[in-house]
Symmetry: C2
Subunit: 126 residues, 2 copies
Amino acid sequence: MTISEVSKKYNLTADTIRYYEKEGIIPRVQRTKNGIRDFDENTCSWIEFIKCMRNAGLEIEILKQYVTLFKQGIRTIKERKMLLEEQRNKLLEKQKNINATLDRLNQKIKWYEDMEKGKKDFMENP
Amino acid sequence: MTISEVSKKYNLTADTIRYYEKEGIIPRVQRTKNGIRDFDENTCSWIEFIKCMRNAGLEIEILKQYVTLFKQGIRTIKERKMLLEEQRNKLLEKQKNINATLDRLNQKIKWYEDMEKGKKDFMENP
DNA sequence: TATTGACTTGGAGCGAACTTTAAGTGATAT
DNA sequence: ATATCACTTAAAGTTCGCTCCAAGTCAATA
């Protein structure tokens, strides 16, 4: 697969994919005889995985660490597990913040709805 | 209240609070006769509100728009409601991404646990 | 009186994650 | 043959959200 095919498949720009390779958060991609990237199944799975992690906000630097550990093989399994657990905790924290904010937005939206219906007296606060 | 008191209260740096004022995502803060910021209750509520929104990742630019509408008074209520609904949708989307990633992390962590216990054969994938 | 310390300002600097640019190669279509 | 197109590289540029700096003011303390 060429970079533009992969780009379409995962809805990432070709530039982003090249950047990910340069940064080492996906493994080095094979080239054809004339230097053009040729993506295989495995590389695609990595891209898909990285995309998912990035969508949730995991940092490039962390993902780089994960890939580095991965490359070092089976002996880094404990470390990899710890890294993932740490990221899980960060996501749980994020989830809490988002839930708190959603509650707040819902309250406000409701308040505005009531205002529109003339149900509330006018008493504005942030 | 001085800026350093507010800074402690909300665990934001004084620089960040000044930046928020400069950007207009909190209302202009009153000054004492010699130019020092003097935060009142209302401004504090704004800071708390903005902090919550920022924690969930709402953009400065969006919050600026909200504050601008707010300043224009009651006639912008419909617009404000729409803005908040849009942000709510974005947060719901984010929530979905985080949940998907959490599921995936949980699976992986479990896999690593099983590996450690020697339960699984060695078959690595991203 | 001198100095300490908290504040003020405008503006420069920074890290993260891309994104764009410039210059080039090589296969295919007209 | 020549032009078009997708690709290549290294490096510079961009955006966001702060964060830091220099130079200055003012009030309180040694």
